[in-house]
């Protein structure tokens, strides 16, 4: 089973994506976070196999959260999920060498 942590500040998106991922026979969403800060805490305590991270969140955004996680857990596997294609942040992510799914 692939353990997934999903961080997104839209509740409906969390419901949709979690239900889809949970429907996969080999995946399990072990936790959801609605903010970057919560994502960092959950990632470090639960150590999921993969983290799906929304780029734009209110308190702490995906980039900041990713940086915080990677500082303490460099092997973490993080995928940034976003729908902002023209965003400057997107380019900064590329520079961090992170995979991005649009």
């Amino acid at each position: 089973m692939i353990k997934v942590l999903f961080a997104d500040d839209h509740e409906m998106v969390r419901i949709g994506v979690t239900s889809y991922l949970s429907a996969q026979p080999d995946m399990e969403v072990i936790a959801e976070a609605d903010d970057g800060g919560a994502a960092v805490d959950l990632a470090l305590s639960l150590r999921p196999d993969i983290i799906l991270m929304d780029l734009v969140m209110k308190e702490m955004d995906g980039i900041e959260a990713t940086r915080n996680i990677m500082a303490k857990w460099p092997e973490a596997k993080i995928i940034i999920v976003t729908s902002f294609l023209d965003d400057e942040r997107y380019i900064r992510l590329w520079k961090l060498g992170l995979p991005v799914i649009c």
């Binding site: 839209h10 409906m12 998106v13 419901i15 949709g16 994506v17 239900s19 429907a23």
Partner: protein, 346 residues
């Protein structure tokens, strides 16, 4: 009191006074013994007394009238000139100038010049204010559109995405068995996808992505590449590499975005062809789709905001825009912009 009457009255008064004084002095110098002879004195056939009374009246009257006319002409001339100043017209000078008025006319000219400068100043300020208003209005429009786009993206787009994920979940884990429910679910899925498509088009329209220093060719390719991934439409493009003036680049890019947004929202097209070429010193941007088309004349009379907007953009860079649309077959938009100097060809 009327100027003429006043002049006549004053002149007569002076005249009588002068006569009375002269007569008085004469009477004192040569006193009259017998007053009856005085009343009988005659010059010719006219009694002396009548002459003493009527001569000054006549002299005063004549002098009064002539002096009144003399001054009235001058006053009227000044009045006419002031009227011209008030009306803001060029002062019409009389053929015969009055030397007495030279100084006044000079001053009137100065007043008029001062007024002219002030008017100029006021007009300049008014123009500036109008321009500023327009600028700030446009700024507000852009800000408001950005805000709307952001909110739509944050809410509706996300919810549609969530809904599509739920649909995928249902299709993968629990595919419906009955044909009727299957068909209904397929319709729901189609609706969600159509809504997502329209949201994307709307966002593109509301918040056009600026070129941000990219060349128009790069910007176009990026946009069309992105659309290829996001919308179920066959998109082809032919983009030639050549230098385009910065201002022209921006406007052409916006026209493309607007046109693509229109196609996505209204055309129900399955194919989109975009071309940017240079022929005979003319830049040609052509956008063709195979959608349902529309009545160009009808849309024009409805003065569609989007179309006139695109047209304005084309005109702004000295270009022309042409729409050809055949209902049921598609729409073809062509923008031609003449390429004029200032651009390096190497």
């Amino acid at each position: 009191m009327n100027l003429i009457l006043k002049q006549i009255f004053t002149a007569i008064l002076y005249s009588i006074l002068l006569t009375a004084m002269t007569t008085g002095a004469l009477l004192i110098a040569f006193p009259i013994e017998n007053w009856t002879t005085f009343f009988d004195l005659k010059v010719g056939d006219i009694p002396f007394l009548a002459i003493i009374i009527f001569m000054p009246l006549l002299a005063g009257f004549i002098y009064g009238v002539s002096s009144a006319i003399y001054w009235q002409q001058r006053v009227q001339s000044v009045r006419r000139q002031l009227d011209d100043v008030i009306a803001g017209q060029v002062i019409s000078k009389d053929e015969d100038t009055y030397p007495e008025l030279a100084k006044i006319e000079e001053q009137i000219d100065k007043v008029q010049e001062k007024l002219r400068i002030q008017t100029e100043h006021v007009q300049k300020m008014a123009t500036e204010r109008a321009n500023e208003r327009e600028r700030s209005l446009q700024e507000i429009v852009v800000q408001e559109r950005n805000r709307l786009a952001r909110e739509l993206h944050d809410s509706v787009s996300q919810q549609l995405f969530a809904a599509s994920m739920m649909m995928s979940t249902i299709n993968e884990t629990n595919p419906p068995q009955g044909t009727s429910i299957k068909r209904q679910l397929q319709m729901v899925e189609k609706m969600i996808h159509q809504s997502q498509l329209e949201m994307r088009a709307l966002l593109l329209h509301l918040r056009p992505v600026p070129l941000k220093g990219k060349s128009i060719q790069d910007g176009m390719e990026e946009l069309l590449m992105e659309l290829t991934h996001k919308v179920p439409m066959e998109i082809e493009w032919k983009i030639e590499q050549f230098q385009v003036e910065k201002g022209v680049e921006d406007q052409l890019f916006r026209i493309l975005q607007e046109a693509v947004s229109n196609t996505l929202r209204h055309a129900k097209a399955t194919m989109l062809h975009v071309m940017l070429i240079e022929r005979d010193e003319t830049i040609i941007l052509r956008i063709v789709d195979n959608g349902i088309g529309f009545d160009v004349e009808e849309t024009r009379t409805m003065s569609s905001y989007g179309l006139s907007n695109m047209n304005e953009r084309a005109i702004e860079v000295g270009g022309t825009m042409k729409f050809i649309s055949i209902p049921g077959e598609g729409t073809r938009l062509e923008v031609k912009v003449p390429k004029v100097g200032g651009v390096n060809h190497d």
